[in-house]
C-alpha cells in the first residue's frame, strides 16, 4: 500500500534526476571539449554544425550539443535549433536512469538494446568515446569504473583532479550564466 502511494514520487524523482544529469552532462561536454586534447581530437572529425542529441523516448528529457569547430562543443539545452544529425535515444526513462545512475555501463546499455542510434554509427562511436572520457574525468574512479567499459590506465590522479576541477568550474559557471539570462 505504502509502496503504491510513494510510487508517483519515485517516478517524479527519477525523471528529475535524469533531467538534471542531462543538464550536467550537456554542460560538461562543452567544458571537457575546452580542456581535453583527446576529446578535441575525437570531436574534430565531426562536421562543423553537427548536432548531437541524447534523449529519452518518446519525448522525454534531452540534451543537445553542437560541434562548433576545432573540436569544441556548445550546449544547446534541450531544444535543437534545427534537425539533429545524431540521436542516441533511451527506449524508456528507466533505462536512462540505469545508465545515468551508473548501474549500467553505456556499452552494456547498447549491448542490452536499451538505446537506439539514429544517425551515422561511426559518429555515435566517437561520441560514446567522448562521453566515456568525460565520465572518467568527472567521476570518482570507483564510480567511473561502473560507468565505462575500461577505466583508462594512463589517466593518473593529478591529471584527473586538474581536469575535473576545470570541468566542474566551467559547468558551475554555465549554470550561473543560464540562471542569470
Amino acid at each position: 500500500m505504502l509502496a503504491k502511494r510513494i510510487q508517483p514520487m519515485v517516478f517524479q524523482a527519477r525523471r528529475l534526476y535524469v533531467e538534471l544529469m542531462f543538464q550536467v552532462m550537456g554542460r560538461a561536454l562543452q567544458a571537457v571539449s575546452e580542456v581535453d586534447a583527446a576529446v578535441q581530437k575525437d570531436a574534430r572529425a565531426l562536421p562543423v554544425g553537427f548536432l548531437f542529441e541524447m534523449m529519452v523516448m518518446p519525448a522525454g528529457s534531452s540534451l543537445i550539443v553542437e560541434h562548433v569547430g576545432d573540436g569544441r562543443f556548445h550546449y544547446h539545452g534541450s531544444s535543437a535549433p534545427r534537425p539533429v544529425d545524431l540521436s542516441i535515444q533511451f527506449k524508456h526513462i528507466a533505462h536512462a536512469f540505469l545508465v545515468l545512475s551508473f548501474q549500467e555501463k553505456t556499452s552494456v546499455a547498447f549491448a542490452n538494446d536499451r538505446m537506439l542510434v539514429d544517425g551515422d554509427i561511426s559518429y555515435a562511436i566517437r561520441m560514446t568515446r567522448v562521453l566515456n572520457r568525460l565520465e572518467s574525468f568527472i567521476l570518482p574512479k570507483l564510480v567511473a569504473k561502473r560507468a565505462v567499459k575500461e577505466y583508462p590506465a594512463n589517466l593518473h590522479l593529478p591529471e584527473k583532479l586538474m581536469s575535473a576541477a576545470r570541468i566542474y568550474l566551467k559547468v558551475a559557471s554555465n549554470f550561473v550564466e543560464t540562471a542569470r539570462t
Binding site: 572529425a45 540505469l98 548501474q103 549500467e104 556499452s107 552494456v108 547498447f110 549491448a111 542490452n112 538494446d113 536499451r114 537506439l116 542510434v117 539514429d118 544517425g119 554509427i121 561511426s122 555515435a124 562511436i125 566517437r126 560514446t128 565505462v148 567499459k149 575500461e150
Partner: protein, 395 residues
C-alpha cells in the same frame, strides 16, 4: 536483482535440406504471390545455380516473371533503383534473392522501394524507418558464410555521395531462407574456406562479445560444432552434399547468433581492411580471428574455454585443464587455418595476402576504431591496441 537483460528475434522460416528448393512454390502461393522476380548475379547464373530454382518453380506451374542477374559485388543505389523499375514494369509481386551477401542485400533494398514506393532508397536509410511489412521475400544463399538470409540489415553504396547507406529493420528479414546443398556444391575451395571462416567468426564473436545471451549462445555453439566437424571434410571432398549442408546450416545459425548478439573487434578490423585494401570479408575474418581472441583473452577466458568442446570435441575438452582451455581454443582455430592454408592458400597473415602494405596498418586502425562493431567488443580498444593487433597479424 540482476541487471542481466537480452533480446532475441528471428522470425525467418528456415527450409533446409534435400529438395528444399522445391518448397519455394508452396511458400510463395502460401503468401498469395504469383509473379516472383529473381535477383542474382552473373556468377551465380554462369554456375548454373538458377536452373534448379527455375525448374522447381516451373514444375509447380509457377512462372518466374523476371530475372535480374547483374548485381555487382558492391551494390549501389542506382542498381537498386534499376531493379525496382524492372519489378514494377513486369508487375512482379515477390522477390527471390539467389546469391551471396551482395545479391541478398540488394534484394532487401529493392524490397523497400517496391513496397514503400519512390525511387530514392537513401530516404529509407537508418534504423527503424520502415513501419510496415514488405512484399514476400525469399532468400536462397549460394555461399555458406554471410548469414545475410537471417539478418535485419542491408548495406548499399551511394556512389554519388561516396557513402555506404545502412538499412536496419526487422521488416528486411526474408519470409523464408531456403538452404539447399545443391547451391553450394560447386563453390570453389578458397571461397568455401573463407566463407566458412566468416561463419566461424560470427559464431565465435557472438559467443564471446558483450551482447551474448543464452539463445544466441545455443546457435553459436551449434554452428561452431558443425563447422569444425565439416569444413575440412568438405575441403577434402567438395562434392560431399551432407557436409556442404552442415556448413550452410552452420552459416545460417551463426547468422542468427550474431544478429542477436552482435560482433566485435574482428569485424571492426575486417570492415576497415575490406574498405581500405579491398580484401574479401571472409578472408579478413579468418585472418584476424586468433589475434583478436588473444587480445581479448583475459576478458573472455571463460566463454572461449567453453568453445573448446565444440572446436575439438569432448575428448580433447575433457583432457585439457580448465585453465588452459581458452588457449587451446585459439590453437584449434590456428590449426584449422593452417589446414586451410595447405588446401587453398587462404592467407593467415596480412603479409600473406600480398595486398596489404605495412604503411596501411595505421589507417586501418583509425578506421576500425569508428566501426560500430567495436562497441560490443568485450575489452576496450584504443588506437594503440588496434595497431598492436594489426602488427601481430602482419606476419
Amino acid at each position: 536483482m540482476t541487471n542481466k537483460y537480452y533480446e532475441f528475434f528471428c522470425p525467418v522460416k528456415v527450409i533446409a535440406g534435400k529438395a528444399a528448393l522445391e518448397h519455394i512454390p508452396y511458400e510463395l502461393t502460401g503468401m498469395a504471390a504469383k509473379r516472383p522476380m529473381i535477383v542474382t548475379d552473373k556468377g551465380v547464373r554462369a554456375a548454373g545455380l538458377l536452373d534448379p530454382v527455375i525448374a522447381a518453380c516451373e514444375e509447380s506451374g509457377l512462372e518466374i516473371v523476371s530475372i535480374y542477374d547483374d548485381v555487382p559485388p558492391d551494390s549501389s543505389t542506382a542498381v537498386v533503383r534499376d531493379i525496382a523499375g524492372v519489378y514494377r514494369s513486369e508487375k512482379c509481386d515477390s522477390i527471390i534473392a539467389v546469391g551471396g551477401g551482395s545479391a541478398i542485400d540488394t534484394a532487401k533494398a529493392v524490397n523497400i522501394l517496391v513496397s514503400e514506393g519512390g525511387d530514392d532508397i537513401a530516404a529509407y536509410a537508418g534504423a527503424g524507418v520502415l513501419k510496415h511489412p514488405l512484399k514476400p521475400f525469399f532468400v536462397v544463399p549460394t555461399t555458406a558464410g554471410t548469414g545475410s538470409e537471417v539478418t535485419a540489415v542491408a548495406v548499399i553504396a551511394d556512389t554519388e555521395k561516396h557513402v555506404k547507406l545502412p538499412f536496419t529493420s526487422s521488416f528486411l528479414l526474408p519470409n523464408a531462407a531456403i538452404i539447399d546443398p545443391r547451391m553450394t556444391l560447386t563453390l570453389p575451395p578458397h571461397i568455401t574456406a573463407a566463407t566458412a571462416m566468416d561463419a566461424l567468426t560470427h559464431a565465435t564473436e557472438a559467443f564471446t562479445c558483450m551482447a551474448k545471451n543464452p539463445l544466441s549462445d545455443a546457435y553459436a555453439t551449434a554452428a561452431i560444432k558443425k563447422i569444425s566437424t565439416s569444413l575440412l571434410t568438405v575441403m577434402d571432398n567438395p562434392k560431399d552434399a551432407d557436409h556442404r549442408l552442415e556448413l550452410a546450416e552452420a552459416s545460417t545459425m551463426a547468422g542468427i547468433a550474431f544478429s542477436n548478439s552482435m560482433v566485435g573487434l574482428v569485424h571492426a578490423l575486417g570492415h576497415a581492411t575490406g574498405a581500405i585494401c579491398q580484401l574479401p570479408h571472409g578472408l579478413c575474418m579468418s585472418l584476424y580471428l586468433p589475434y583478436v581472441l588473444e587480445y581479448n583473452l583475459e576478458s573472455i577466458r571463460g566463454p572461449l574455454g567453453e568453445l573448446l568442446l565444440y572446436l575439438d570435441g569432448p575428448d580433447v575438452y575433457a583432457a585439457t585443464p580448465a585453465a588452459r582451455r581458452a588457449e587451446a581454443s585459439i590453437s584449434a582455430i590456428r590449426r584449422m587455418r593452417d589446414a586451410l592454408y595447405k588446401h587453398c592458400k587462404l592467407p593467415r597473415t596480412l603479409k600473406e595476402t600480398g595486398r596489404v602494405t605495412e604503411d596501411q596498418l595505421e589507417r586501418i586502425a583509425d578506421v576500425a576504431l569508428d566501426d560500430g562493431a567495436i562497441m560490443f567488443n568485450p575489452k576496450e580498444v584504443t588506437v594503440e591496441d588496434a595497431r598492436a593487433v594489426l602488427r601481430r597479424a602482419w606476419a
